[in-house]
Subunit: 202 residues, 4 copies
DNA sequence: TATGAATGAGCATTCATTCAT
DNA sequence: TATGAATGAATGCTCATTCAT
């Protein structure tokens, strides 16, 4: 029973390719990574890459889809969580830490996709869909935490909060900053909390 | 008096190439733009591109340097401005609007550079330098507006504010959002203002 | 049994490319030969050339190395030959004929390399090594045929004999001369023989 | 009277270009030298090069013609010299030293031309003409020094002597040899002299 | 005549993709 | 299915030559 079925081996091979591609796209960039390199890194032949993916872009789309689906399902904040939590700051911290971890998991890849989205409609659509979901999540959270906020402002606030988190993670990852993640998370929590506090007072 | 000197024509040609390259890099991406295309868009020959730039990357670096220098000198907030303004919100709005305009002026190019920075050290260094200058500006502003804030938090706050602005501009530019720039700017002002208000109260 | 293994086909392809490159370099010159041309002559695609060689110069170096190694191993005059031959003229004729044949086998290529050596250090080093080996051979032969000759003169004589043979082959190959190879070989033998005879008499 | 006439200045400019081209062709090779480089080295503009020469090859041909004419006229051994000299070795030494000096003056250029001759008929014809003249000179000398030698052998001997001299100079110039020119010239004289001595004895 | 920016054909090289084994 | 040699279109870059000034 040691031998894996063909089906299992196929899945494993695909995973090896996906991991290699993800890693190389993230660190070197999509255009600076060629299929031969991905295959080598994955420990398979060049031909194998094309057994699993129609072309290079297909691999990118597959990874992007998988990645966004994971992010989306992992980051779901259940209604129960919202109802049970009394402390706004605790909810915020929890959400921000979650976002940080998610984004932290390949900021490089996110960055590649964000850039490719501009010129490639297909990638753009997937990425938009992902972004929309994340923004909806934040919006829903805001609905709970600052219910009086008019929808327009809520959407704007979501965009800003998302931007703040994403951009901060990027800076932590790619700029030579002495700031630790902890300090930045603290400050992000304070930022959003102050904002919501002010909103609720109005 | 009609005839331009050779010197003038050289400057014009370089400008045509720079504009074409900037425009194409921004809309299609650096790797999706080839030198022939830049030359055609600029209305010159392929060879001319190489009269002015050693290679494609050299053109990118030149544009990046020029662009960041412009941004840096244009976005300077004079001390007078800080002293004369009494209203914190007015100062913030002014700064944010300024940043918005700057980032708005080629978010696409900024995006390309941000991505290329990851894998290319040379680009990375120029970009880092630029980012550091911008962050210093924001930090200086915060020093004025929230003087009690400890340096560490101030730096963290700068990073977050910068991220929020940059990311928001990106969303406005590239995502299908109904949010108008005006609403987002209003919200950004509120976002930062609330934070500073809370700090001053502590 | 008809089917060649992939390994065999690789060797064949490389050989086709090497032969084509050698032939074109020899007849048209290194700089007048482009990679497309080599590929076409070899009956392969342009890309294939680069499957086997890093660049054009790499192909030249490979051919040069292969060629010189062949020449060096083929032209070895065994000690037995030296001991067994009693007649100096016979030894000389044998050596000269051998050299003639070797040089004759692509004088064009030799000529290219001799010229490229001047400006290209890498080629220069390989070529020097080759020349040194050949000169050593001649020197060793002279040691046997004119043992009293002081080392300095022997080395000088080797250079002269080598130059005489190489230059003569070049003339036969590329100048419109009515002189047959046979006459020139005869004369070369006489030349060297007289020289050695004179040396031995001194 | 300090000012040079236009005519004189033209001649000077052409000379500067010729010298630069000759120097660069010799050291770097014809194909590795571009017209811009020649112009820069000559201290003139690229356009100027084309005022004086139709194209790059035209410059090469001009230099080759000038050079060969100089060599031919300089190396002429007057009949008087031949008649007056009694000592064969002295005549030989004189001729060889002369040849050495001539060849020594740009062996690099000679080498380039020798190589270009193979693929370029025009260059080939000029070069052939030059070589024929030199060979005729040597042949004439041999006629004087070894009058019994049949014409065929004389021509063969000329070729061999020429090859020996040319190749020896090349080695002195481009190979790392400890041999001094003096030793090689001595040996070359002995080489040719022994041959002639042997002929006269037969 | 002199200048040097401009031209564009030409070449070296890369790489996504195919396909015979 | 796996392999990796083979393909050839595409691209970055060079350079001989032209020509407006």
């Amino acid at each position: 029973m040691k031998h894996k079925s063909q089906q299992e081996r196929k899945i494993e091979t695909k995973k090896k390719i996906v991991d290699a591609a993800m890693s190389l796209f993230s660190s070197q960039g999509y255009y600076q990574t060629n299929s031969k390199e991905i295959a080598r890194e994955a420990g398979v032949s060049t031909g194998s890459f094309y057994t699993y993916f129609a072309d290079k872009k297909d691999a990118l789309k597959y990874i992007l889809n998988t990645y966004t689906q994971e992010v989306i399902s992992d980051s779901a904040v259940s209604d129960d969580d919202l109802i049970l939590s009394i402390d706004r700051k605790a909810i915020l911290r929890d959400t921000i830490v979650k976002s940080f971890n998610l984004h932290n998991f390949s900021v490089g890849f996110y960055q590649q996709v964000r850039t490719l989205s501009i010129a490639d409609e297909e990638i753009g659509l997937i990425f938009e869909e992902y972004k929309r979901t994340i923004l909806m999540r934040i919006s829903k959270l805001l609905e709970h935490l600052a219910s009086e906020l008019p929808p327009d402002s809520r959407e704007a606030a979501s965009i800003i909060i998302y931007a703040a988190i994403e951009g901060t993670v990027h800076t932590v990852k790619f700029s030579r900053t002495d700031q630790t993640e902890a300090v930045l998370i603290d400050e992000l929590v304070r930022f959003v909390d102050s904002y919501l506090a002010a909103l609720n007072k109005e």
